[in-house]
Amino acid sequence: MSALYSVRGLVKRYGVKSVLEGIDFDLARGECLVVLGRSGTGKSVTLRHLIGLEQPTSGSILFESLEIVGRSERELQPVRRRVAMLFQGGALFDSMTVFDNLAFPFREHRVCPEAELAGRIAALLDKVHLPGTERRMPADLSGGMKKRVALARALALEPEVLLFDEPTTGLDPMTSASIASLILATQRSTGAAALVVTHDIALARRVADRIAFLDQGRFRFLGTFEEAEAAPDPLLADFLAGREEADDVA
């Protein structure tokens, strides 16, 4: 199967601070790759590069055969129509109702006439188990509900790739589990590829076809969850088991 995304030698530095030191991976159609790593290791930065929200210091990102690096905002538009991102806090437009938030991608790209919007939006809200919330404002929603509305918005244009930035951070375990189910269900029903950035091991175990472990700007491990558990890497083993850092213990 041909890769949807191929990332090679991705390096990102902010001034003298180095975040990514050469990331390589492929994302196949329909695959779910979970990037694990400690806070502040550049997981979200990696994700943001994939739709050109950040430009790398060097490296290459191919979406199908299109090079994303160095493209202008206008040139990135076709890619952004096919790849949707779910932001960490949901990033719902807080001046708009849930309905207008979900209508935004449809209106922006003139996908359908205004009259069809209500039906389409109701269907999206059903998918994320929040029927009847069209008139609510984002400020009136709980953290988990915001993420689900944001997921519905991300699904609006039937993307081929879904990028999830910490989809369960700040949520209780039960809500996290329901988000994980939603990710799985979405992937199954739409066949979209997913790239999930998280430090939630339980989520990774449930949804990942493959996991990558990001440490000091590089993928220290890339393979299936079972391979990760069998890998002779003490840091990865500590991370998966949720043990304290050796430095901290001493």
Binding site: I51, Q77, R80, M85, F87, D94, E108
Partner: protein, 254 residues
């Protein structure tokens, strides 16, 4: 070295402001036009600034009348109150004071709004959905400010002259007809055009500075706070400095 670095940063900032200004100005003439957003912004920027703009100019007109009459008592200046008040208000005080007061209000509002959207990733969300934040957010604000600030300035002219009238009639024992006659005979169309003309430039500066600082805000509530303060300072300085050059320009042209 530190001076060089500061100059470098200032030049970079000026370049970024100019780029945003150019993109927003181009956006004014490229479809699609979001009229609904423009009208909403007009309400927020213009209609809700009526109070502050009105109070500022009425009292400035009153003070101008008092100062002129009392500071030069022996010269009979009181009979030229209408001329002094209307010329100084229409050419200078109304455009600058309205821009400073209203600009502080709306410029900081723009920075706070866009800055909050930036730090909560809403700007990134817009970009990720292949929408252009400049077209979507900056252009309606620019269009609304370009309409409303000159309108408020015109209204300020009128209210300031009325303020002068109150003092002329109730403090200086002139008749309303005398004052009005003085105003009408001295005020020219050039005076009005030069004053309102300035306010178009001020509107542009306020919007570009306010939006730029919002779109580049970083670091949570603290960063948005700093960006907002920066907007008020930078917009005020731009208004006052450009006012000098614009005054020169309008005297050359007019």
């Amino acid at each position: 070295m530190r001076l060089l670095a500061a100059l470098d940063r200032a030049a970079e900032e000026a370049g970024a402001l100019a780029r945003l200004g150019a993109r927003a100005a181009a956006g004014l003439f490229t479809p699609p036009f979001d009229f609904r957003a423009g009208i909403e912004q007009m309400d927020q920027i213009g209609v809700r600034s009526l109070g502050v703009a009105g109070i500022t100019t009425v009292f400035t007109g009153m003070v101008m009348a008092l100062q002129t009459a009392y500071s030069l008592p022996g010269l009979g200046v009181k009979y030229y109150i209408g001329t002094v008040v209307s010329k100084s208000l229409v050419r200078e005080l109304a455009p600058v004071l309205v821009a400073l007061i209203v600009g502080g209000r709306i410029g900081s509002g723009m920075t706070a709004e866009l800055g909050t959207m930036k730090v909560t990733e809403q700007i990134d969300a817009l970009r990720s959905m292949a929408a252009d934040p400049v077209k979507k957010l900056v252009v309606p604000k620019l269009a609304a400010t370009l309409v409303m600030l000159p309108a408020l300035t015109l209204l300020g002219d009128l209210l300031g002259i009325l303020g002068g009238l109150l003092i002329a009639v109730f403090q200086l024992d002139l008749t309303a007809a005398f004052y009005a006659n003085d105003v009408i005979s001295s005020l020219t169309l050039e005076d009005v055009v030069s004053g309102v003309g300035k306010s178009f430039f001020f509107a542009f500066f306020i919007t570009v500075v306010g939006c730029h600082n919002g779109l580049t805000a970083e670091g949570g509530a603290d960063g948005v706070g700093r960006a907002t303060t920066n907007t008020v300072v930078l917009a005020s300085i731009l208004i006052l400095v450009s006012d000098f050059f614009l005054t020169k320009l309008f005297y050359l042209v007019g």
